[in-house]
Amino acid sequence: MADLFDRFESLRARRDGLVGDGGHDPFQVEMDEVLSQTEAMIGGRHTILAGTNNYLGLTFAPESLKAAHDALDAEGTGTTGSRVANGTYSGHKALEYALSDFLGKDHAIVFSTGYLANLSVLSTLVGADDYILMDADCHASIYDGVRMGDAQIIRFKHNDAADLDKRLARLAKKPGNKLIVIEGIYSMLGDKAPLDEIVAVKKKYEDVYLLSDEAHSLGVLGRYGRGLPEEMGLEDDVDFIVGTFSKSVGTVGGFCVSSHPQFDLLRLACRPYIFTASLPPSVVASAKASLALVESGGALRKRLMRNAEHLHKGLSALGFTLGGDVSPVVAVVAPEVEIGVAFWRGLMDGGVYVNLALPPATPQNFTLLRCSLCAAHTIEQIDRIIEVFAGVAESLDMLPAQSGKKAALG
């Protein structure tokens, strides 16, 4: 008899082949106790967290904790309803005003997660006669969002404005709106979009809009943390900014901002907005408090970049192949999946948690030991991370570059 789960057979075989030996499972990590933004107890071991998206370390910010506690006590544990029914409290509106104010756009909509923000906007904003031109390395939430909608979906080569130009030129005679979709910082390798080149291409054509997902760059780039558009002085050229509260903002939730005068109509059209319960008041309150800390967080951004440079330099010096330039995401490229899993386990045994990222979720089929940094990391913690990386490389017989041999990892 056929079993309902037979269709997952290849997935099961792949999982069992990689992690079925009972060792640490990279996909089932459990934090027994969270000690701080940068440390937790995992499997009885004191572990440095170098694989969170807590870039500014705001998850324990006193102002945000207090705001969350106050809202929790005043308004309860949840709204039990959708934004369009009973789930919009004054806090949700206040957060939307704060977002549009912070990002300099006329309108903001708050969604229940970043994933839902992309599902909502990308499935709704463009219709059957329109075109999405998306960077091939965009996040799964963008792929899922465009697939939920009716627009024609065209991918352009990662960070390749000339390829985008070529594709837009071929569409120029066709009616319909075109929406370019990019990310400020791409999550796997930490590389930035060439926003200036993309904006220049966009301006060559009619009826072309630009949406940037600033999930990993909000709070990280720009003097005030408004992301890549702020850093490059191109905020007016980005029509829609999508973002999340689950990285630099330190809680959960998503948003989209725009100055399009009709933007609010999306509230009546986006199914993932209409048919999901709204964020609990405590989450909304901490997001708003943390957003203020993001804006005034210049010192945190300096620490974050100092930490990123320190880790990037240290791992480079050991001979590791890194996925991109200096950014808060430092991705070490492993030569194959099995070595990636073994290396990841070695890091866990050494008390360092990073993300193990495998194809197909990675660009160029890379196996990645993806480190992400936090402003709250100390230099001592980063030195320890580098030391553990060196030790694991040695134990797996991947001798570092300074020995005169080629580093086997990468």
């Binding site: 465009v146 697939r147 065209i154 991918r155 070529k166 594709r167 071929r170 197909p360």
Partner: protein, 90 residues
């Protein structure tokens, strides 16, 4: 989808599809209009994306992701891409 047309444009497209596909043919399958991407060539979603990107480069076209779920065979892909070539370069 109907059988592949056999005019000049589609012959050129078929030749290009087969040429690019040969570089992705790890199973040593003899390629023809009836070759199925999943069953005969063991293509997974990742390989499909890589193959389509290579084909887009070869033919200088954009293949919308929307058309892919309906394409099971080489012949069906030839039909779809011939139409795109006509639209984008016709």
């Amino acid at each position: 989808m109907s059988a592949a047309p056999s005019d000049g444009a589609s012959q050129d497209v078929r030749a290009a599809v087969l040429e690019v596909l040969q570089t992705f043919n790890k199973t040593g399958t003899t390629l023809g209009d009836g070759t199925r991407f999943t069953e005969d060539l063991n293509f997974d979603s990742l390989l499909v994306m890589e193959f389509i990107a290579a084909l887009e480069d070869r033919l200088d076209i954009s293949v919308p992701l929307n058309v892919l779920p309906d394409i099971e065979t080489v012949g069906q892909l030839v039909v779809a891409t011939t139409q795109i070539v006509r639209e984008e370069h016709g």
